[in-house]
Amino acid sequence: MLDCTPKEIKERSGGMINPAKTCQPIGAMYAALGIHNCMPHSHGSQGCCSYHRMHLTRHFRDPVMATTSSFTEGASVFGGGANLKTSIKNVFAIYNPDIMAVHTTCLSETIGDDIPSLIKSAEIPEGKLVIHANTPSYQGSHITGFSNMTKGMVSYLSEATTDVKKEQVNIIPGFVNPGDMREIKKMAQMMGAKFIMFPDTSGVLDSPMTGQFNMYPRGGARVEAIRDAGNSKLTLALGTYASADAAIQLERKCRVPSLTLKTPIGVKATDEFLMTLRQAFAREIPGELEEERGQLVDIMVDTHYHFYGKRVAIFGDPDIIIALTEFVTGLGMKPVYVLTGTPGGTIGGPQDIFEKEIKSILEQAGVQGKAKASGDLFQLHQWIKNEPVDLLMGNTYGKYIARAEDIPFVRVGFPILDRSVQTYLPITGYRGAMRLLEMISNALLDRVDRDAADEDFELVM
């Protein structure tokens, strides 16, 4: 059987087994794809770039374009400056984007290439832009990379040009699927709020079939919009880990006040998001959204007995699983293990921010559970082996644990490599919460059906 995890738990200090995270550049690449007409560029060896594109392609099932500096031995000795300059020249000559978003890799970081001064001295065609973010993977995770590139957008592009801030809000959605970005935009629109979302991969990585290949699909945040974000009266950072840094940078650079909210997953977090918009724009929540919320709560009431008391293990990216943990406690479930591979603190600061946040959600719900940042799936599996759960929620890699322990499994997060459609549909907002409810209850009830003895096999559940 595909199960090589021993039950006995021992201290480990020599690395990761079955990681619950991946490296910074892929997050930076994903963020950069959320700018319209942008070519992400990987400054390092071609292998990294190839892996990142492959991984994103598998998750989104859409073409993922990115260029690479194609380091060779020379670059590792003399630095990659020449490669970057040639790259900038070639990228604009061949692929003609409006903007090029450079991220580093472990290699170029270790060599110590000074990207800003290289960009300054490069020949950039008139009217074209090059931005960058440092994304060494020996710090943080793909979420950090996403956050760094988003912050880079602000540092390079956003400007405060008006004296009075405009009646508009910046929404930084975090590392979520295009389907979620669409849902969040839909809600903002329904609230009648003028908004700027960046990065925005909707229309890029969930682009429709046209029979044509567009290197730059129609979606993505416009450069002018990101520039104008400096004139907004408020920034909403959805998720501390993927979005807060960019919001803080906007505050610093352009004096746009910011609020960091949870990723709007579940009733409470969605409520908070909408309330914040209502307050900022003195608008009423429209009837349609009230209705959606009412439907969601109705479903929760109709089905709550399916969920009550179920022990669940949740893993994935911090912003997502924090909100998800809150949501499932609201259903009466017990999230006994919550684990992310991403470090749960700030560089040089406290390291237990994630654990504390989860613990406080659990405490409020009266649940005894374990929370862990910088963890791996080996550890999660050991926990489960020692005290089993009724449900596992997380990305595709959870399937090994689900199979070995024979637990129902709901796929959420990144990456999902073995199922499709999920990138088009939300888990955020009230509609997204309904979808989550459907996924969770289907997983639980399918299992009941599968395991029921003939005499217990029920038509109505």
Partner: protein, 448 residues
């Protein structure tokens, strides 16, 4: 919309890497580094090494580097195993800033110790990644010490990504394998009348199909490199009397070395398509020069060909006249594919590889019709341009090419990691035709 047009501009530096048969006389340029700033489809040294070694089922595959390099290679290759599962786990030293500054040797040693305690494996492969090459960890020394501590084999794989491309990784993997199969000093292995099967990674169980054929012919397979292999079977590799080599790109070097060191002759074979499969089985039988083997081989070929003939004919009638584009990793596979397409009535109008060698491109040029575009290390714009120009209906490629083909409304076949059915041997030929048919003739294309 400007971006929607296939980028007509092929950068000047790239023009030597593209040929149209019949139009240009000079040889195609290949085996060079990619140009900085291109959307290269190429992978790295580590990737090549990992692909070759990964199917060794009972080894601990430990990636010494930051987390990404190992995350992306966690169980992505569909190599099947008949026993151990350890190769499907992802082990990484997860290097942090501290390690990058002060060196990662201690952490690596600790990781090996901890893993060996957990998993009673006799073999650890330690893969070097780019950054390890730069910070200068002495992999050799750490591995040697660990091997002595635990009394097992700990083999470093010198696969820093920037020292070349995927082919350099194949070579690094072969070097690691050579270390593994070296018999202990003074104890030569007695030769047996068996063969090693090189260059099959048992994707979708392909090794098993071929092993069955050979068994029926009366030929014993000593070990396959590296599909469904393990420590014990690889250790005995040197006792074979013949090496047959399927994926020449990754295994040619190993075959040469084994000939040099252990006097095992080798021959290239291919089990892709009816024609190549039959020819290869005959070639193997002939090498043994045994009448019984030869007659059993003829029986097998006759029986299996008869079994699949009608199916292949049926597909051929349905697909005659369709045009295919090919973009795969190695030249050898590309060559086989041209023949395989011919068997089902499909013409190849564009063909390229990531790492094909000069001789392979020469063979390709001989095989294809005039007007076929041949290209090395292509980028997506080039693929798009030529596929559209040549009116291809189908693309054969890897993960990253799939959505590109789909967006162009073109059918697609994965001939790489993500293949779901075995494509080798007689059964494989039918599977291949079936897969081509199911994508080419799917009703979904009617909605575009």
């Amino acid at each position: 919309m400007k971006a929607a047009e296939p980028a007509g501009i092929i950068v000047e530096e790239r023009s030597d890497f593209i040929r149209t048969k019949g139009r240009q006389k000079q040889q195609l340029k290949c085996d060079a580094d990619s140009i900085a700033g291109c959307v290269s489809q190429r992978a790295c040294v580590y990737c090549g090494a990992r692909v070759v070694l990964n199917p060794v089922t009972d080894a601990i595959h430990l990636v010494h580097g930051p987390i990404g390099c190992s995350s992306y290679t966690w169980d992505i290759r569909g190599s099947l195993s008949s026993s151990a599962d350890l190769y499907r786990f992802s082990f990484s030293t997860d290097l942090k800033e501290h390690d990058v500054i002060f060196g990662g040797e201690k952490k690596l040693a600790r990781a090996i110790d901890e893993l060996v305690q957990k998993y009673p494996s006799k073999l650890v492969f330690v893969y070097s990644t780019c950054i390890v090459g730069v910070i200068g960890d002495d992999l050799e020394a750490v591995c040697k010490a660990a091997a002595q501590r635990h009394g097992i084999e700990v083999i470093p794989v010198q696969s820093s990504g920037f020292i070349g491309n995927k082919s350099a990784g194949y070579r690094a993997a072969c070097d690691a394998l050579l270390r593994l199969l070296r018999p202990p000093e003074g104890k030569g292995l007695a030769k047996t009348r068996s063969i090693n099967y090189l260059g099959d990674f048992n994707l979708a169980g392909e090794v098993w199909i071929i092993k069955n054929y050979l068994k029926e012919m009366g030929v014993e397979v000593n070990v396959a490199f590296t599909g469904d292999s393990n420590y014990t079977s690889l250790k005995k590799a040197a006792r074979a009397s013949l090496n047959i080599v399927q994926c020449a790109g990754s295994m040619y070097y190993l075959a040469e070395k084994m000939e040099e060191l252990y006097g095992i002759p080798h021959m290239n074979i291919s089990f892709l398509g009816l024609e190549d499969t039959s020819a290869s089985l005959r070639k193997i039988a002939a090498a043994f020069g045994d009448a019984a083997i030869m007659s059993k081989t003829e029986e097998l070929i006759a029986r299996e060909t008869a079994r699949v003939k009608d199916a292949i004919q049926w597909y051929r009638r349905k697909m005659e006249g369709k045009k295919a584009a090919i973009y795969v990793g190695g030249g050898f596979k590309a060559i086989s594919l041209i023949k395989q397409f011919r068997e089902i009535g499909i013409d190849v109008v564009m063909i390229g590889t990531q790492t094909g060698r000069q001789e392979e491109y020469d063979t390709i040029t001989d095989l294809v019709d005039d007007g076929t575009v041949i290209l090395d290390d292509a980028n997506p714009s080039e693929l798009e341009k030529f596929m559209t120009e040549k009116g291809a209906h189908l693309l054969v490629g890897g993960v990253k090419e799939r959505p590109l083909a789909y967006k162009l409304g073109m059918a697609f076949i994965d001939h790489n990691h993500d293949r779901k059915h075995p494509l080798s041997g007689f059964v494989g030929a039918v599977n291949f035709a079936g897969e081509v048919y199911s994508t080419l003739c799917s009703p979904v294309w009617n909605y575009i």
